[in-house]
C-alpha cells in the first residue's frame, strides 16, 4: 500500500510542475490524483455536484457572498461583477479558454472564495467538481 501512496503523491507533485503550459484538463487531473490519495473509493468528479456547489446558497460564509453566483451570475458563460464593480471574465471554459492555466492561481481563488462563500476551504472533490462543471459549461 505504502509504495502506491508515495507513487501517487509523486505523480500529483509532478503534475504541478507541468501545469504552466497546461489546460483545464491537467488541473482536473491534478485534483483527481489528489482525491485518489485521500479516498481509495474515489470514482471521478461530477458536473451536477459542481453545478450544485456553484448555485447553492450557504449560510456559513460571509453574509455578502452567499453563493458563487453572487459575483459570477447564475450563468457561468456570462461575465460577472465583483461587489466593488469590476467585471469578472466568465468562469466557463468555453467562454474564457485562457482562464485555467495555473494551479497556484486556482488554489488562491479557491481558498479565498470558498472561505467567503462557505466559511471554510473547499475539499479536493469540491474543487474537481467545480472545475468539471466549468469544463462542461
Amino acid at each position: 500500500m505504502k509504495p502506491i501512496v508515495i507513487l501517487t503523491t509523486f505523480i500529483a507533485f509532478s503534475l504541478v510542475g507541468s501545469l504552466r503550459a497546461g489546460e483545464l484538463n491537467e488541473l482536473i487531473n491534478h485534483y483527481a490524483a489528489l482525491a485518489k490519495t485521500q479516498d481509495a473509493l474515489f470514482d471521478g468528479f461530477d458536473v451536477g455536484r459542481g453545478k450544485s456547489l456553484y448555485i447553492t446558497k450557504s449560510l456559513d460564509g460571509k453574509k455578502d457572498t452567499p453563493s458563487c453566483t453572487t459575483c459570477h451570475t447564475n450563468d457561468p458563460t456570462k461575465a460577472g461583477e465583483t461587489r466593488a464593480g469590476k467585471t469578472i471574465d466568465p468562469m466557463a471554459a468555453s467562454a474564457s479558454p485562457q482562464r485555467y492555466q495555473s494551479l497556484k492561481k486556482a488554489e488562491k481563488w479557491f481558498r479565498r472564495n470558498c472561505k467567503s462563500v462557505l466559511g471554510r476551504e473547499c475539499t479536493v472533490t469540491e474543487k474537481g467538481d467545480f472545475l468539471t462543471y466549468m469544463k462542461n459549461s
Binding site: K62, D64, R83, A84, R111, N113
Partner: protein, 139 residues
C-alpha cells in the same frame, strides 16, 4: 510631477504586484489617499476585506504592505492633504471616510447612493474617467 500638488493629479499605484492584486477585484486605490496606519489595518485583516476573504500569501502581503506604506499619505515629510484630520489611533479603512473625500464629494449624497447607486463610492473611475492615469480633475 509633484504628487502633492493641487492639480488634480494623484499618483496611481505603480508597483506591479500591488496593482495586480488590488486590481483583481477593484480599482487600485492610490496609496497616498490613506495614512500608513490605515493601510496596515487593511493589510492585517485581508481575511475579512470589506465582506470577503482577500487573503494573500505572507510574502505578497508583506510586499504590498511595504509599497503602500512607502507611498502613503504620511510617507513624506509633510502629510498629504488627503489625510488631514485623521485619527492615527483609529484610522479609517475607507477612503470615503476621510474628511478630504467627504468635503470634495458633497454631490454624492447618501440619498443618491440609496437610490441604486450603492457601490458607486468604490469606483472612482465612474466619474474620474482618467483615474487610472492619476487624473482626478472633475470631468
Amino acid at each position: 510631477m509633484n504628487i502633492f500638488a493641487d492639480n488634480g493629479y494623484i499618483e496611481p499605484v505603480t508597483d506591479r504586484v500591488t496593482k495586480e492584486e488590488c486590481n483583481a477585484c477593484h480599482f487600485a486605490f492610490p496609496a497616498m489617499l490613506l495614512p500608513q496606519a490605515s493601510w496596515r489595518k487593511i493589510l492585517e485583516n485581508l481575511e475579512n476585506h470589506f465582506g470577503e476573504d482577500a487573503s494573500l500569501d505572507s510574502q505578497t502581503t508583506q510586499h504590498i504592505s511595504q509599497y503602500l506604506a512607502s507611498r502613503s499619505g504620511d510617507a513624506g515629510s509633510t502629510p498629504s492633504k488627503f489625510i488631514w484630520g485623521l485619527d492615527n489611533e483609529d484610522p479609517p479603512i475607507r477612503i470615503t471616510e476621510t474628511e478630504y473625500w467627504i468635503e470634495k464629494h458633497p454631490h454624492i449624497s447618501e440619498e443618491k447612493l440609496k437610490s441604486g447607486l450603492a457601490g458607486l463610492k468604490a469606483i472612482c473611475t465612474v466619474c474620474h474617467l482618467r483615474a487610472v492615469n492619476g487624473v482626478y480633475k472633475y470631468e
